[in-house]
């Protein structure tokens, strides 16, 4: 396993370093253009980058979970979800069960955070719990656990911080140029005859300001897309049932709601891009994630559950000899058969209505609402602010103790 992580890391490190160089280049050019001091710009860019990276490293998970409005649950809140996470933890050989969070949102989606496997968390929306069967949920959780296992989450956090820094620097520089520009005029008067060189630097700065965020975004997407394929392959290996993830992706893609609590920087973390056009199923043009139909097609065509099987199908679908799975992971790949649907589940699982009821009960409970069942069958939800000792049933008029 660790060989696979290492090769993942080296490949992605190159991309991250590329982004870092881009960042420093911006600092350099901006410093040259505005302060007439390239080193000053370099230092500023470097400091901004480091402060944000440290913030992302130590506080990133709580910030992201907070932004998404996620709430932590324990085993008794939703045994099904908790057990599935535990199952996938065992299948992946992870040492510790990640914390589990729920986001109150009808749009089905999921993501993972954490700077290392010991301090990781998975978050799923309530919509996901309602819509997916056990096998499907297992596929999605397997995908998220794979992100944790392959240490994608930290890398994505660092890459997204760099992207953010580049965007911020470029944004401030453009404001500076539009409204200020005094650094430039002062410096040109002092340096006198160097007008030609000045203009070249300025043009380079403008071009870079426009191109850098786009380039950074492209690098970011390149990292994130590869990792999505890798996580899909890992999920298939853990569950030995690629159909589960495939049909989960299909259900997630078919839902039309947009996730309320996502933003551009957090988008690549989700199992599916939360920013597709409202009222429209996810298109194939979503850029942080590979085309959804392709991911499903690869998963459905797999003849076995191993990395080698995934790699083979991926190459067929793309018609190239270039794959997505690192060679070192393939070298350790061993044949793994597929299992039947619902294997291990000797019994029927709750249907969609039952799941919806369980999930809504859970969301009320997490909001500290009390549920009282009246003798007439009506269920009363008592808000935490309710101070009276009894409540009257609006349906039959009985008085119930709180």
């Amino acid at each position: 396993m660790w060989e696979q992580i290492r090769s993942n890391q080296t490949r992605s490190m190159v991309l991250v370093i590329g982004m870092g160089l881009l960042l420093l280049l911006i600092g350099y050019i901006l410093g040259l253009a505005f302060f007439d001091n390239a080193i000053g710009g370099l230092v500023i860019a470097f400091i901004v980058w480091w402060v944000m990276s440290l913030l992302a490293y130590f506080q990133g998970d709580s910030i992201l979970l907070g932004l998404a409005g996620a709430r932590k649950i324990s085993h008794d809140d939703n045994p099904r979800l908790y057990n599935i996470v535990e199952e996938m933890k065992i299948a992946s050989g992870l040492e510790k069960v990640p914390d589990i969070y729920i986001i109150d949102d009808p749009a089905p989606n999921a993501f993972a955070v954490g700077r290392n496997p010991d301090k990781a968390a998975v978050a799923v929306t309530s919509g996901l719990l309602q819509k997916l069967s056990r096998d499907e949920l297992q596929g999605v959780i397997g995908h998220e656990i794979a992100h944790i296992r392959n240490r994608d989450v930290l890398l994505m956090a660092i890459a997204s911080v760099m992207l953010g820094t580049i965007v911020i620097l470029a944004w401030y520089a453009s404001r500076f140029m539009l409204f200020g520009g005094m650094g430039r005029s002062r410096s040109s008067s002092s340096s006198g005859g160097g007008g030609g060189a000045q203009i070249i630097v300025l043009v380079a700065a403008i071009v870079l300001m426009i191109l850098a965020p786009i380039m950074a975004q492209l690098i970011y997407f390149a990292i994130s897309r590869k990792r999505e394929y890798m996580a899909d392959a890992s999920s298939a290996l853990y569950t030995r049932y690629p159909e589960g993830l495939a049909s989960a992706l299909e259900k997630i893609a078919a839902s039309t709601g947009q996730l309320k609590s996502a933003n551009q920087a957090t988008a690549p973390m989700y199992i599916m891009n939360p920013f597709r056009k409202e009222k429209r199923p996810a298109s194939n043009l979503t850029s942080t994630h590979p085309p959804i139909s392709e991911r499903i097609r690869i998963l459905r065509s797999m003849g076995g559950a191993s990395f080698a099987d995934y790699e083979q199908v991926y190459q067929q679908v793309h018609g190239t000899g270039k794959g997505v799975i690192p060679a070192s992971a393939l070298a350790l790949s061993h044949p793994a058969g597929l299992r039947a649907a619902g294997a291990g589940a000797a019994t029927k699982e709750p249907d969609r209505i039952e799941r919806a009821r369980q999930t809504s009960d859970l969301m009320w409970r997490l909001g500290n609402y009390k549920t009282i069942t009246c003798d007439c069958g009506t269920r009363l939800r008592v808000p935490p602010k309710f101070k009276e000792s009894t409540v009257r049933c609006p349906h039959c008029g009985r008085i119930n103790p709180v």
Binding site: G93, A345, T347
Partner: protein
């Protein structure tokens, strides 16, 4: 003189290679041990859940005495084998799995039982424990496969031979039913 240094150099290089391979083998072996411990945890959890299940089911299932006794018997037998090797243990656990599956299959005939909250919670735990057993088995067997490959492949097989690494045993749960299950083909 130079020849001596060359020989010393070769010996040092060989020693370093030996140490690296040895440490890697220990790493693989520990992973196998660790994976085995995971299976053990889940099997024990299943032993603990079964008495609870029996207690809950007893009041409802008047006519399933045989099925219930088979589960209890298989459980006690499997628990008694807890210190046996992977091969023998797998057989006993397989019997328990199929006895349990038979019991849960007849639950369909008892609507009252299916509505019992206590039973539903137990059912979720049992289902998940079955899954956890098969996932930990899967991880264990994968680990054993990788470890055995290392032991048998050159050059690590030489180190393994010299230092007494033994091949790991796969954990196969072979229930009667599973073996007998008919192959369905549409061709």
């Amino acid at each position: 003189m130079a020849a001596v240094w060359v020989i010393v150099g070769i010996v040092v290089v060989l020693l370093v290679i030996f140490i690296v391979i040895y440490n890697r083998l220990v790493g693989w072996r520990n992973q196998v041990k660790n994976a085995w411990a995971q299976i053990d945890v889940q099997l024990k959890r299943r032993y603990d859940l079964i008495p609870n299940l029996m207690e809950t089911v007893k009041g409802y299932m008047k006519h399933e005495r045989e099925t219930m006794e088979a589960v209890t018997k298989a459980r006690n037998l499997a628990q008694g084998m807890a210190s046996a090797g992977a091969g023998e243990r797998g057989k006993a656990e397989g019997e328990l799995s199929s006895a349990l599956a038979r019991l849960l299959a007849v639950v369909e005939n008892y609507p009252d039982l299916k509505a019992n909250q206590n039973f539903l919670a137990l059912q979720e735990e049992l289902t998940s424990t079955e899954n956890k057993i098969s996932f930990s088995r899967q991880y264990y067997n994968d680990s054993v496969l990788k470890y055995n490959n290392q032991i048998q492949m050159f050059p690590s097989n030489m180190v393994a031979g010299m230092t007494g690494f033994k091949a790991g045993e796969f954990f196969e749960v072979t229930a009667e039913e599973e073996r007998k299950a008919p192959k369905v083909s549409f061709t």
